[in-house]
Amino acid sequence: MSAIAEAPGQAGIGTGWRFREKSAIPGFVPAFAWTLIWLSFIVLIPLGALILRASGIGVSGFVDILSDPRVLSALRITFGLSFLAALVNAVFGLIIAWTLVRYRFPGARLADAAVDLPFALPTAVAGISLASLYAPNGWLGVWFAEAGIKVAYTPFGIFIALVFIGLPFVVRTVQPLIAEIDREIEEASATLGASRARTLRSVILPPLAPALLTGFALAFARAVGEYGSVIFIAGNLPYVSEIVPILIVIKLEEFNYAGATAIATVMLAISFVMLLAINLIQAWSRRRFGYA
């Protein structure tokens, strides 16, 4: 079947470079043209405007803006907390995915549907809700306050918000792979005398590792850029609980376009690196395990 599918491609090589292979399906030109036009107007030209603006700042301008202690502290807070949140998501995401696939219990279907809530709930709603939940007089904040821990308006609050928005990424990346695990491998491992814990560690976990890593990277990438769910609970104190996205907004409100552009360019570059990393993990996984 694949030989038939590749046949036009073979012909293409014989006749030199060709942009498109011949196809019986019409409509390529209008569909492709509209795709390119819309992509250019909505995505490429606006992102190009950012790059163009950034190129006008110059290297020394960039160094000036980014070496500001307030910017450095925001970068540290954003990346440190995003990393921690993604780590917690990886652990609990794996447990939740495993539980949802392997065990039957009351409310399992509801729990499965609920995992997507952070995707569906507008970030501002999540933000005010988490802020009021963890405020010193909130349902959970009261308990923390009694223990002498402040959650809202501290980095801990930011961490909570980032865990909230990152959770579905790990669960939904790992879940389909757990569902596909061949029970016979586990049986073989048990037959050979491995304990259940040993089987989980040496037989089940290794093939899940790439998906877990992808889920971690997706959650991390989302957390780094997150704005709506964080700003209400963060308190946004410079040097303490100020994240990079809010710093961009503040620069913009001060009409400091160069500052906003420089910081945004760094964020954009990091997005590209994360996108590349995720693609590399998936390519490696395809080579190593035969699936992404």
Partner: protein
Amino acid sequence: MHDLQKAAPSVTDESNVARYVLIALALGFLALFLVLPLAVVFTQAFSKGLGAYVAALTHPDALAAIKLTLTVAAIAVPLNIVFGIAASWAIAKHEFRGKSLLITLVDLPFSVSPVVSGLVFVLLFGAQGLLGPWLREHNIEIIFALPGIVLATIFVTFPFVARELIPLMQDQGSADEEAALTLGASGIRAFLTVTLPNIRWALLYGVLLCNARAMGEFGAVAVVSGHIRGETNTMPLHVEILYNEYNFAASFAVASLLALLALVTLCIKTWLEWRYADALAAGRRH
């Protein structure tokens, strides 16, 4: 899968104790991070009674925000549907160079921070933007007006429809369409009578997610809107303003509408996954 009641698990199961612990951990985590925040929204919304709730939602500023949010979604979602169908038709039904690069570019807006998504339009159309002077000369308002909000919304919801359709249409191949064309159908007819029925549930799925994000987008819209009450405030922005004024009950009242939208979206999405699992792309990623 085994029922919890069954004793003596097989060799490919964890012990009952381990199972209970894992289920408790999973459910506890979900309750703490998903159920509680949702419960807070509705409790706070009605904390001052039904009268205050209705009053908050029928306030002229709230009504204007609801109307603006619906308007923005009504413009952004159809445009992204047209794009999604065009892109998936070009990408899934044809072979051309640079296809994987194009797919990456289509997915790009998902990796960009919402704030940066708004900023790029300010840099392009704002008063100090590249096209700012020209726009001012011609009296065209984009930033701090409806067009800017629509553009930012289209940007952040850009990949939703396309990424649902592309993998599905690649799986389906083009044999059905080729048969229709051989039987004398026009390209348009083949699309309407063969392709569209094949992709309708995935299309609905993508539109659903696209719409939820379009109505709920906060960061990108916050940057381009200017927060003008009754004019450029969408529902999420109205929630923010009321909250920052310590008008919590009203803020959560408007937020409860958005939460309701999220719940309805999740219900339809779950129903689609359950009822039409085969008609959605196999390797679908969220």
